[in-house]
Symmetry: C2
């Protein structure tokens, strides 16, 4: 009973972008943890390792030798989940057994020639080069493919099998589930409210302030009101922007800056190279380039798993898989905690 | 190019229960794995540990002492995500900031007094006792709550923090996301086709055989056509059954048998106590007990993470979180592999 208090009383919050709900039970963080401990990332990654297929000059699985690249470096994934020429599955003989063609390409993008760097430790110019390379690939692959998914799996905990700083780009002949979902919800919002959902959302959050983590003139990073992962964030432009490739020069520079500030805070939270999966969502491309995509707003999702420390993560298992995501601290608490962290990386602090 | 072959050519498959798609790229399993290795579960769990709050006679976090229970044992979760009396969040002041009340109860159910047992190593009578306890709790909590989620997180990899064999039961005042989703898709299927989706599906799979893992007169276990986890299975009754509590005596016995056979195969796959999250879905309860739930069919989902060995799991990360689930072997390959495994547990094999 008593007066409602979000950090004490469980409640559900609606995610308008995914049209689903998250259960917020902030009091749960008090329970003791005797479960699995994660291994912190290795601290001794060599800057250059001839046996690492992502390094300059190294030989890849297909026998090709990488150039002595000095900035970003893009190459085809040697074990692609999507290939351009798979034959069509035959017609379905039953509505419960439906298959569809899936074609595409998978690329890997190294952020930097050094294996022992991560984005938050790179210079603004180096991060800006990554952003330019993203925009270039998004435009290039988006010329024909409807969806170009840029994503980074950071840390072994997030299934990343190589410490070298890199991301992946998978372009597909179809709109994946998450794209279809966000297309539908953003379209409905524009129809009903006359303004793109995430543009309105950014304006609201900028005014409310309690979930803001970092911001500048062009960008806003918030722990969304409906966050499921403990320190999940949503990176939003303040202007209506459909796709990465639409960003102006100045917006690319300010994006590099806001990303660096966010990622430094992430690393500082538990003084560890912070694991996450992140990725960009923007208006569909290929055949959709000619359609009205005004309901879309470019954004990046950061999904980091750590909950209590460098070694204790949130497990999205049983109840979450079978019923509904559940979180153990409020988005406002997470934002407050991130906001209050220094913007100097713990590894670069003068003692 | 060439003739389509599911185990060679990537394609997408439709999941009619979740209304989404999975990308099947079976050739991907050929890539080498240099990423995270999981720790196999401990082999030396003591049968009785006075410091384990799940053991008979042990003291729990709230100071209560467990009885010397001899079968199953149900008690309130000491750190519940759902409590019966949380106050209502106030009215939303904006459509993008919507909260709702969430009330409920969380219980823990020990399967057996011994900490070193798991379901596949229990006798049929002991498994039957678990099924009866499930049905009883489903009916008891379902008298008032709309949704009663029974789920088991098995193994540290699945966030389980206690090796003692147990499951959880979370009853809620609302229909969680997965329940709402399956309610919608099953309702639409019945409306369009005049037969409950999963009843028709079981009949089809029994006839097609290629995805069947184990079966008996009352039950069928398949790797569903749209499975996302490598060795995911769906456990289905052959008769139209809405809820666990509707199962007859004979069906409960045959359920114990089919579960034991499935779980022995799971353990035998990599000769390790197989981690998974599993849970039951059936027609909603509480206020829905008076409504027509004929579109619902009782079923259990098993979501096991292991992919290649006892230490190499599938990561549902980057592309999966941002775009769409992707699997590295076909459901038919997984079913074949499970089907061909012996039905005697590797720990109980006479050498
Ligand atoms: O309640 P447990 O077993 O301590 O906790 C586990 O199961 C819960 C329900 O699936 C999850 O929310 C937790 O993240 C997980 O660690
Ligand atoms: O391609 P990688 O980095 O080897 O693999 C990683 O990312 C992929 C895309 O998110 C996932 O499908 C894999 O499970 C994961 O291990």
């Amino acid at each position: 009973g008593g007066r409602f208090c979000a950090s004490e009383h469980q409640h559900a919050r609606y995610n308008p972008l995914r049209d689903d709900w998250v259960l917020v039970s902030a009091h749960r963080v008090k329970r003791p943890w005797q479960g699995q401990l994660e291994k912190p990332p290795p601290e001794d990654v060599p800057r250059w390792d001839p046996n690492n297929p992502l390094c300059p000059g190294a030989t890849r699985a297909n026998g090709e030798v990488n150039p002595q690249y000095e900035g970003t470096f893009v190459f085809p994934n040697d074990f692609p989940a999507l290939q351009p020429d798979a034959p069509e599955p035959g017609d379905s003989d039953h509505p419960l057994f439906r298959a569809a063609a899936a074609r595409g390409v998978c690329k890997v993008m190294c952020f930097h020639p050094w294996s022992d760097l991560t984005l938050p430790l790179m210079s603004l110019a180096e991060i800006r080069a990554v952003i330019d390379a993203w925009a270039e690939l998004a435009a290039e692959l988006g010329a024909s493919y409807p969806w170009v998914q840029i994503f980074e799996n950071k840390g072994a905990m997030m299934g990343c099998s190589n410490p070298h700083p890199h991301c992946q780009v998978w372009a597909s002949s179809f709109l994946p589930n998450e794209a279809r979902l966000e297309d539908r919800t953003q379209r409905q919002h524009l129809n009903q409210h006359g303004v793109p959902m995430l543009l309105e959302y950014a304006e609201q959050e900028a005014r409310r302030k309690e979930r803001v983590v970092v911001e500048n003139a062009d960008w806003l990073v918030v722990v969304p009101y409906w966050a499921t992962w403990p320190y999940q964030t949503l990176l939003l432009p303040r202007r209506h922007v459909c796709r990465l490739q639409d960003l102006h020069e100045g917006e690319r520079d300010s994006l590099a800056s806001v990303m660096k500030r966010l990622l430094i805070k992430y690393d500082n939270l538990f003084e560890v190279s912070f694991p996450y999966s992140m990725g960009w969502h923007g208006a569909p491309t290929g055949p959709y380039l000619g359609e009205d995509c005004g309901h879309w707003q470019l954004h990046a999702h950061y999904y980091p798993p750590l909950l209590r420390s460098a070694t204790v993560r949130k497990f999205m298992v049983g109840y979450e898989m079978l019923a509904q995501a559940q979180r153990d601290l409020t988005p406002e608490q997470a934002a407050e905690r991130l906001r209050s962290l220094p913007e100097v990386h713990y590894k670069q602090r003068a003692e």
